[in-house]
Each structure stands twice: as C-alpha cells, then as structure tokens.
C-alpha cells in the first residue's frame, strides 16, 4: 500500500506538523509519496525536516517535486534536491537554480554527521554572516561570532547525541505574517536520530521518574542543562544557545519525539506555547533558532 502525504503550500515548523500528522500513524515500512507539487514556499526547517523524514522511513519514499518554477529553482539553490535525490525517488522536473548569488541563503542544506562537518559549516557561515546580520538585519557586529557559536553548538548535538546524521540550513527572509514584514535569520537543524528522551535514558544510572516523557526530557535538557554524560562540563551548549537567543530577542524551539519546547522572545513578536505535548511522533530532534531584525 502507498499513502500520499500532502505537503502544505507554506512549509515551515508549524505547518510541518500537518505532514507528521499524516505520516506518524503509518508503519515505517509503508511506502509514502510526499507531494510537494503545490508548495509555494519552504523555510530551512521545512527543507531539512523533509530530508529527516525520508531518513526515518524504511521504504525509500517518493517525492513529487514542486511544480512552480521559482520554488523548484529555489530548492535547487538551497541544495535540497542534491540531498533529496539520495533519499527519495524524485518525480517531476527539477529546475536549475536561478542565481548562484542568492543573498538570502546563508547556508545551503548541509549534511552533518561528524565533527569535521561542523568545522566546514562554521567556516562557510562566517564568510556570509557578517553582511547578512549586520547590514541586512541591522544587528550589532557582536552578533556574528555568537551566531556562529550557536550554530556550531546545535550542529554538534547531532554529532554527539543523534546517533545518525542530520541536516542544517540557514536563511534570511522577510516574515510577512508576523513582525509586520521584519526580516529574520533562521537556523534549522533536523535529525531523525534517537532524540532527547532516549539520549538522557542512556545516561549511566538513569532512573525513570513517575512522569517521564519527551516533554520532560526537553525541559531537563534545554532548561536545566541535563546531559547523558556525567562530565559536569556537558550541557553548556544549549544553555549558551538559550542565552544567545535571549540577548538578541530571538526564539529557540526544539521538537523531539512527541513534544516541542520553545524559549520565547521577550518582545511580543511571537505568541507560541512554551511547551507543546502529545504531538505526532517524529524521531530525533528538530531545532530552530530565529533572530529578528533590529528596529529602532
């Protein structure tokens, strides 16, 4: 049996839940067709999560590529199809990238599976981040190094904890729905690995509590710096990322298993819930960091 998974026109972290609602009930070895033909836009989260979705399936899925030329060529520009071709059977015509000089792309979809990959990502982003963050988003020059640090830390979570490879992408875009058209820079890091709960459960001497679920695991890790390692130096990475988003009025959200935790901005540009539970199951961890443009 084959099931068609309809992808929403606008594919980002919230709307990706619609995809997971369709996929989660299906057996892992059931063939799926992911239909992006009518997609009009996808965030870095949407693209990286689509790749993680394919990795999570036993049976190689089919991807109907977007019909709109500008969408297809933009996904090409983001190197999405380059990686998707390894994981999906692509059906439909993939357009070439329109322009290699697409300034909104800070980092194309990039595979992360080992420490060297993090070095490559950091080297790449440093060359592009200064202009994008300081000139286009009016942020203080101090942000560039901190932004890269945050990116490095979230990528390392894959290498250190996921147990299998994942994806990262970084892009700037104008957020029309919220923020009244303000620009944002978004980092998305998605993997289909063991996730936060299973990672903590592998800690030596771990004892399950009365209430122990994905939401608790996220709270322990993100809010209290817990780690599966006994080394007290562990768990600082995400704490540093939290501090970074707090300083720049940004947002951090992490989904793992059936829950999603969000560290929300002090400003009123986002009205998300701090913790969402009982979501459709998706393995691994999906991280998104959003930093908004500074306005006077």
């Amino acid at each position: 049996m084959t099931t068609i998974i309809n992808v929403p026109h606008s594919l980002e972290d919230k709307s990706f839940e619609q995809v997971l609602d369709q996929v989660a009930p299906l057996p892992l070895d059931e063939k799926i067709i992911v239909d992006t033909r009518h997609a009009r836009w996808a965030s870095p989260y949407g693209l990286t999560a689509l790749l993680a979705l394919a990795q999570s399936r036993v049976e190689r899925p089919v991807l109907y590529v977007p019909e709109a030329e500008n969408v297809s060529s933009y996904w090409s520009r983001m190197d999405f199809f380059k990686h998707a071709a390894e994981l999906y059977e692509l059906q439909g015509r993939v357009k070439n990238p329109r322009s290699a000089a697409e300034t909104s792309v800070l980092l194309e979809v990039t595979s992360i599976s080992k420490s060297d990959d993090v070095h490559i990502v950091v080297d790449k982003i440093q060359q592009r981040a200064q202009d994008a963050l300081v000139k286009n988003l009016n942020l203080d020059a101090k942000i560039t190094m901190r932004f890269t640090m945050a990116l490095s830390e979230v990528c390392q979570n894959i290498v250190e904890h996921a147990g299998r490879g994942g994806w990262v992408a970084v892009q700037t875009y104008t957020w029309r729905v919220r923020l009244g058209g303000r620009k944002v820079v978004v980092i998305a890091v998605c993997d289909p690995g063991i996730g936060f709960r299973q990672s903590l459960e592998s800690a030596p001497g771990f004892q399950r509590r009365d209430r122990w679920d994905d939401g608790q695991a996220l709270e322990e890790t993100v809010m209290r710096g817990a780690s599966r390692f006994r080394d007290p130096g562990r768990g600082q990475g995400l704490a540093g990322v939290r501090k970074f988003v707090g300083t720049w009025d940004g947002k951090l959200s992490i989904r793992s298993g059936t829950a999603r935790i969000a560290v929300l901005p002090k400003g009123d540009w986002d009205e998300d819930e701090p913790l969402l539970e009982n979501l459709s199951y998706f393995p691994g961890a999906q991280v998104q960091i959003t930093i908004p443009e500074r306005v006077a």
Partner: protein, 195 residues
C-alpha cells in the same frame, strides 16, 4: 621561565592545517592534548602564556575542553599536578562568553592579559580573594603583611588567602612573597620560577 603557546598553532598541528576556529569537543580535546605535551616538555615549574590571538571562534565545547579541563588538571586546591601557571592572552569578547561560562560551571578562575598589559582576574573568585589578588597585582609583588595592611584583615587570614590563590595558580609564590600572575608592574619576564 615564561613559555608561549599559540593555541591556533596547536589547532593546526593537532587537527587540521586549514582550521582557524576552535569548535567541537573532539577538536578541543585534541588541542588540549597538544598543549599538555608542550607543557610536559617545559618542566615542573613554569609560567605559560596561552595565546588565543589567532583563534577565530571558540565555542562552549572547545572552551570546556581546552580551558576548563586544562585548568582542572593543573590548578587544584588539593593536589595540583605541577607548579604550572597560566596567563591567557588574545581573548576576544566572543571568546570571553564561552570561557566565562565554563569557568562558572567548574568554579574556576584564570588571569587574562590585555594588549595594554593590564591583567584581569575572571571566573569564580570570592571578594576577599579578588581583593588580595588586586593588592598583589598593584604592588607587583608582595607578602601577607601587604595584603593585611591594604585590606584590614589579620596577617594569618591574608596568608591563608594568598595560599589559596597560590594553590589556584593565580599568584606565584617565590622566596618570601607572591607575584600576581600577569602582574602589570611586576618584572614577570625576569622571574625565574625554577630558581
């Protein structure tokens, strides 16, 4: 004797010729091992400048591996491994974010030196100890009597404080007194630790 370790060179030597950023835990561990090998070559008593001037990015994992774990091995109230003192140079504002975070986590402290020669004590140090360190730093070199006079504590208390700072390798003990690590006015360059 003062030794100089360029962290960027250690990175290129131990991990990859092309890297200039200190990111990821394995990278940090490799660089620390390289620094430790260097320290093994320079004897049991030394002042070593750890220079970050040519390091681009330092993330939390690398700061933990290089700075915190290095200090944990050589700086301890109970059983310091050897009499090795560290002076950190070339620390940028963004390096400082990562370094201060790991120092806080492990309750450690270190001395940084700025380009103008001024030194600063960063990390976890209580008020009395910080004051004592500043007194020694301002004097260039001093003894418990100097700290007692300047801070109003008893000489015994001042001696205990200085002994604690010495065990944490934040002051250098020599002859009858102490020199602050990185003291701007002390003739540190001429201090022979192996005397």
């Amino acid at each position: 004797m003062i030794n100089h370790i360029d962290v960027s060179s250690m990175l290129r030597k131990s991990v990859c010729e092309l890297y200039s950023n200190l990111v990821t835990r394995p990278t940090g561990a490799a660089v620390r091992c390289e620094i430790e090998q260097e320290l093994d070559r320079i004897g049991d008593r030394a002042l070593t400048v750890i220079d970050f001037s040519h390091v681009g990015l330092l993330d939390f994992s690398c700061a933990d591996e290089i700075v915190a774990k290095l200090l944990l091995q050589y700086v301890s109230i109970d059983t310091p491994r050897r009499e090795v003192y560290f002076l950190f140079r070339g620390i940028s504002e963004s390096h400082m974010d990562a370094i201060e975070t790991v120092l806080e986590r492990h309750k450690l402290a270190l001395v940084t030196q700025h380009p103008d020669g001024q030194s600063r004590l960063i990390g976890i140090v209580d008020v009395d100890h910080r004051r004592a360190w500043e007194v020694i730093c301002q004097l260039g070199a001093g003894a418990s009597a100097d700290v007692a006079n300047a801070t109003g504590v008893s000489r015994e208390e001042a001696e205990r404080t200085l002994d604690n700072l010495w065990r944490r390798r934040l002051v250098i003990r020599h002859d009858d007194g102490y020199v602050a690590v990185g003291s701007a006015t002390a003739p540190v360059e001429n201090t022979r630790l192996d005397a």
